[in-house]
């Protein structure tokens, strides 16, 4: 993710979570968080449990999110210089004198000091705040139930478009030994016909989706159960993965065997020559070392879902 992509991601996150953007530029956002965003980003569980229990009106935090620090700093420096220049031009006016006097008598704080506290957060790929946004997106975007929005209004009020329900799931496949790589796969299975398609998420991105059932739409009857659909996905993925090259895993296994042989070579004579009462301790250590090595090198492939949902799409497929 480059700076621009990060910027766009942040903006869409703020919009999706109903935050109030107070100020923005291509390099930053000043934002008042929505309760949802505050809960997931500010790490204030005590405050929120207080709000939840007492029903108090929540006061959410504001933040300055900087997505391009060099640009933002330059911008700020320029602004500051401009303000200083303006301040220098304006002669000490009555109002500032008055303000100072007010300040002395009433503890009045000058306008510039009176703004809300706005902690600055650097948003770059890898920064902790952005990782939090990632996690919050995941937490708030795991299971959906959506309908495709019809492209245009129907001419006839009583005409009804048939929709098909799809099970869609985005899967992360992890190939791991002591090293690791990942793949993302997106599957969709029509609950009407049982057909399974790949790159399903891309197809969804071209459509407009809504959580409400649009008017003049009817959903065709499901032909297969959800369980069957899930199995279809599992089988498709498995078939696909079986075609892969597992040279890396063979290599990892060779390494694993080598390492196991190495510690066997070390521990076995040790156990043999040890005093009887010491043997259990050494055996235990031997077992532990073996377990560690398996843990480290054993090749494995796991698939888990990023998120999933039921999608009702126009047409009978």
């Amino acid at each position: 993710m480059n700076d621009r992509q990060v910027h766009k991601f942040v903006q869409r996150f703020l919009e999706a979570t109903d935050c109030t953007i107070l100020e923005k530029s291509p390099a930053h956002f000043k934002v008042k968080l929505s309760p949802y965003a505050d809960r997931s980003l500010t790490n204030r569980p005590y405050y929120w449990s207080f709000v939840d229990r007492t029903g108090a009106e929540p006061e959410t935090m504001s933040m300055l999110l900087v997505t391009d620090r060099t640009k933002y700093d330059a911008l700020e420096a320029a602004n500051e210089a401009q303000q200083e220049a303006q301040a220098a031009e304006a002669a000490p006016s009555l109002s500032s004198a008055a303000e100072a006097a007010l300040g002395r008598s009433f503890g009045f704080v000058h306008g510039t000091m009176n703004t809300i506290r706005m902690p600055r957060e650097e948003m770059f790929f890898g920064s902790r705040r952005l990782d939090q946004l990632f996690a919050a997106s995941q937490a708030g975007g795991s299971y959906v139930y959506l309908f495709q929005e019809p492209e245009r209004k129907h001419a006839l009020p009583h005409d009804s478009t048939p929709y098909t329900a799809w099970l869609g799931v985005n899967m992360k496949v992890e190939f791991a030994c002591d090293r690791k790589r990942e793949e993302l796969h997106s599957f969709g299975v029509s609950l009407a016909s049982g057909q399974c398609v790949e790159r399903f998420h891309d197809r969804l991105l071209d459509l407009k989706m809504t959580p409400k059932l649009p008017p003049n739409v009817h959903v065709t009857k499901n032909g297969i159960s959800l369980g069957k659909a899930a199995s279809a996905i599992e089988q498709t993925l498995e078939r696909k993965l079986k075609q892969y090259d597992y040279g890396w895993a063979v290599q990892a296994n060779e390494q694993l065997d080598e390492e196991l042989a190495r510690i066997r070579h070390y521990y076995e004579p040790l156990i043999q020559s040890a005093l009887e009462e010491q043997k259990p301790a050494i055996m235990e250590q031997f077992d532990k070392r073996q377990a560690e090595i398996r843990w480290q090198f054993e090749p494995r492939v796991t698939a888990s879902a990023v998120n999933c949902g039921i999608f009702h799409l126009a047409g009978i497929d």
Binding site: F13, F125, A135, A136, S137, Y145, K172, L226
Partner: protein, 607 residues
């Protein structure tokens, strides 16, 4: 659904997980937890999540996806920090060729911490490490926590209470960790990664530290040490056994195959090969690792008559006191301090004298003597050194850091520079973290001069400055080296200029003479000094105490000169001993062995 990628061996009994084989050698798990949850929500008719967040979640996953086995992904996550090429090469080798278990044995000052941080970060980014334990000497705990947090964005926590162990990345001192109640907790935990700094302290397998570390359960493991062998090849064997038991065979095999004498290896090629599979050693002077030069200039100064009068007064006062009371070490040190302070500034000595005055009984004959000295101070109205310093700074016309031992001098210099229109900021040990950082920022920005009383301590990296003035010198050579190390370190682009202000006819002259002429401290190789001092102070009081005794006891300048010169000779002797204690070829054999193990990596780094 956002469960962390637990890289542990899967337990096979979970009902919602299918486990088969994709390939005769590859286990395959298909997680069905998502399906159960979806079904539940369907039955309850919700709640349903937001479509935009759903899309963002996929994008986040795409951005974080680990696309290849071999790339160093963590580098993209660290835009604020640029590791050196040899550090990147080292991390790459540990990750891709050594399976994450290695001894990092770079020479001092090349950034072993950075290398370890890179490896840890990479594993974390890849989801292969979640729980990590970092064991370091107590004095380094906070430094590690800061480095990991600031440089690597890793939320590392310093172990304080028992519950701290729950955090994912914990830095602790090994002496705490091995004690109850912590011990049981740690031994019951599986650590994805274990890092041990100053690992040469684990050279003896009979120690409780060694046995404790040996019992820890870990997947990846890094041992950091600049000196994998100090006395004995067995030390190396023990270290490697912690990491990979059997790598050098069983103990008796190792002795038979590789050891002639405790410091003399045989079958070097074979041993070296076995070593380079588990150890990486970068050296100064390797390709790509470049230290700039140190250029030292002593600036002799003559005290003004008033200053000289004060110095003489204090000196004879000190001498009388030493003769009167058969002084113990502590009071001797504090008396001699008076003399050192006069050489620095009248402000420094003034405070000490006033305190001494207050402490002395009212009817003591000493009181008027002390007061006489205080009166002497009044007569002084210029500081020869400070004036020279200003002249120097103007001449340098660049950022300068000034080190002094005394608060009084620091305050005075701040004041003095201000009145001469020089922008200077202070830095001292007592400052809070925030204030220290602020002072550093000021120095990086507007201020031309930083006046520091503290050289040690973490976090002062001053590579952007390459001039330093020693307004006065500590008597402990290690502290001098620490001062220089703030400026002269990896990443410094320029030659470093070191100016020593030295007043003639005072103890200072002797100290500069000792440190500069005799042991050539300023040009010693980084790390060499440790060894010399370690040996020197083994049987005797510290070097600082020895000097203090000499100064206090020596009758006059000539006698002092002789005794100092004797001290310098014995330091020099040790230095030669350190280098040549063993027959040359043996020393070479071990060095060659260790260095050979690192050769490949440094070649790579230099490309």
């Amino acid at each position: 659904m956002s469960q962390p990628n637990q890289p542990t061996n899967p337990s096979r009994s979970e009902p919602n997980v299918s486990s088969r084989k994709l390939h005769p050698q590859v286990d395959w798990r298909f997680d069905r937890a998502w399906f159960d949850e979806l079904q539940t929500r369907l039955n309850r008719n919700g709640p349903w999540d937001d479509w935009s967040l759903y899309q963002l979640a996929v994008e986040a996953e795409q951005a974080s996806q680990v696309t290849s086995f071999d790339e160093l992904r963590c580098l993209r996550c660290l835009p604020l920090f640029e590791p050196m090429p040899h550090q990147i090469a080292t991390a790459g080798k540990v990750l891709h060729e050594m399976g994450g278990r290695a001894i990092l044995a770079d020479e001092v000052g090349l950034g072993k911490t950075i290398e370890a941080g890179l490896v840890l970060k990479e594993y974390m980014v890849r989801g292969l490490v979640k729980k990590a334990l970092i064991l370091v000497p107590a004095s380094l705990v906070l430094q590690w926590v800061r480095e990991l947090n600031q440089k690597f964005g890793i939320s590392a926590v310093a172990q304080k209470k028992e519950h701290t162990w729950q955090y994912d990345v914990v830095v602790a001192s090994i002496d705490t960790a091995k004690r109850d109640p912590h011990r049981e907790l740690l031994l019951a935990t599986d650590y994805d990664m274990l890092i041990i700094d100053e690992a040469h302290k684990l050279k003896n397998k009979k120690t409780t530290n060694y046995q404790f570390v040996n019992q820890l359960s870990k997947k990846y493991c890094l041992l950091l040490t600049a000196t994998p062998v100090q006395n004995d090849l067995d030390e190396l064997y023990n270290l490697i056994t912690l990491l990979k038991p059997g790598q050098l065979g069983g103990q008796s095999e190792f002795a038979a195959n590789f050891v002639v004498d405790k410091r003399l290896p045989k079958n070097e090629d074979q041993l070296q090969e076995a070593l380079s599979a588990v150890m990486i050693r970068n050296r100064r002077g390797d390709g790509g690792i470049h230290f700039t030069k140190r250029i030292v200039r002593n600036i002799p100064l003559t005290l003004s008559p008033e200053e000289k009068a004060l110095y003489d007064g204090v000196t004879s006062f000190v001498r009388e006191r030493v003769v009167e009371t058969v002084a113990d070490m502590a009071s001797m040190l504090s008396l001699v301090t008076l003399q050192r302070e006069v050489c620095s500034s009248r402000e420094a000595v003034f405070l000490t004298l006033v305190n001494l005055f207050k402490k002395t009984a009212e009817d003591s004959p000493l009181r008027p003597k002390i007061w006489e000295l205080v009166e002497n101070i009044r007569a002084i109205n210029a500081n020869t050194k400070a004036e020279k310093a200003i002249e120097l700074i103007r001449e340098i016309d660049d950022k300068v850091i000034i080190f002094t031992e005394y608060r009084g001098t620091q305050e005075y210099l701040l004041q003095f520079f201000r009145t001469h229109g020089l922008h200077a900021v202070p830095y001292r040990g007592g400052m809070g973290r925030g204030k220290k950082d602020w002072m550093m920022d000021l120095f990086r920005g507007r201020a031309q001069v930083l006046i520091a009383t503290e050289a040690g301590g973490e976090g002062i990296n001053l590579q952007f400055c390459h001039h330093m003035i020693n307004f006065d010198l500590p008597w402990n050579p290690m502290r001098v080296e620490q001062r220089i190390g703030r400026v002269h370190r990896l990443g410094q682009q320029h030659d470093v200029h070191i100016y020593n202000l030295c007043t003639l006819g005072t103890i200072e002259e002797h100290i500069v003479n000792l440190l500069h002429e005799k042991i050539n401290l300023f040009e010693l190789v980084i790390g060499e000094l440790d060894h010399i001092l370690e040996r020197f102070e083994k049987q005797e009081p510290t070097i600082e105490q020895q000097i203090a005794r000499m100064v206090a006891e020596a009758g006059d300048g000539t006698e002092l000169r002789q005794r100092m010169s004797g001290l310098g000779d014995s330091l020099n002797r040790i230095r030669t001993e350190v280098l040549a204690e063993e027959p040359v070829e043996q020393e070479d054999a071990i060095a060659k062995l260790l260095d050979g193990a690192g050769e490949r990596i440094s070649m790579e780094a230099s490309q």
